[in-house]
Symmetry: C2
Subunit: 137 residues, 2 copies
DNA sequence: TTCTCTGCAAACGCTTTGCACGGAT
DNA sequence: ATCCGTGCAAAGCGTTTGCAGAGAA
């Protein structure tokens, strides 16, 4: 946790207990959790935690570049602490979101003149290997 | 409109007046409208129109492959009648969504074995040419 | 008749806002 | 003393659902 505190501090975020735990929950999983998921995960250990804090903290992380928003399903916003270039695959059967690598440069679209992209995201929706193999959810 | 009626019919959708008009509103613009936008556009001419009808009709079009959902901003769902392969760029300043071409094959990501993508979408968020040129709004 | 479509109103789920308390600076 | 972070409750917004009436087949 000491590491995390220093990491948040150097990004300009005061390392409060809640922020440390929320960052830990986000960075420690590949599940691309939503605010609700993180809230429910931490609640048993931090009974006083409120959803408001989770939402505002995730917004703070996003503003400071520690997390990326993944609006892959129009239902709930998901977050990813991995801000490097990669794609996201959502299984329409089980709902899980997976990372997948993308060929370098393939995400450098030829935008019309004058357009400047700050965020580039590649989304896929389909069926994951587990669900395709017949494991219903 | 005759054309549109036949088009909907051959896709297995009964061409009611509302459906024709909603399809027309969607296909006749490059604005990637939301349900609310279409509703407000048609309301003056179809005063009895309800949001419910717009929502259910757009869902119907999506199910039948006449429209694609674009969850580019996690706020409201946008729709596109152009189902061909292209990218979407959202200007974070003015909120408009633009199409842009993508190099053939660049949207064929190397998914892990067993994964099968049905929908592939490339999203960018940034500043459009007009906003970059200083036109606030 | 029977089935589908439409539309109103209410409900729902995710997220944001207003406000007050408490702790840090 | 001031500022910032937290948390509760309520509101907000996009969307879906329940239900009834109108219309097509």
């Amino acid at each position: 946790m000491k590491r995390t505190a220093a990491f948040l501090a150097e990004k300009g975020i005061r390392p409060s207990y809640q922020r440390l735990r929320i960052y830990g929950a986000l960075a420690g999983t590949k599940e691309h959790p939503s605010a609700e998921t993180i809230y429910r995960e931490l609640l048993p250990e931090i009974p006083s935690l409120s959803r408001t804090t989770v939402y505002s903290t995730l917004a703070l992380f996003t503003r400071h570049g520690l997390a990326v928003q993944i609006p892959i399903d129009g239902e709930e916003m998901r977050y990813d602490a991995d801000t490097s270039e990669h794609g996201h695959f959502r299984c329409s059967s089980c709902g899980r979101v997976f990372d997948f690598p993308i060929a370098k440069g393939s995400l450098a679209p030829e935008l019309p003149a004058g357009f400047k992209a700050e965020i580039v995201q590649l989304f896929c929706v389909g069926t994951c290997a587990a669900c395709a193999a017949g494991e219903e959810e």
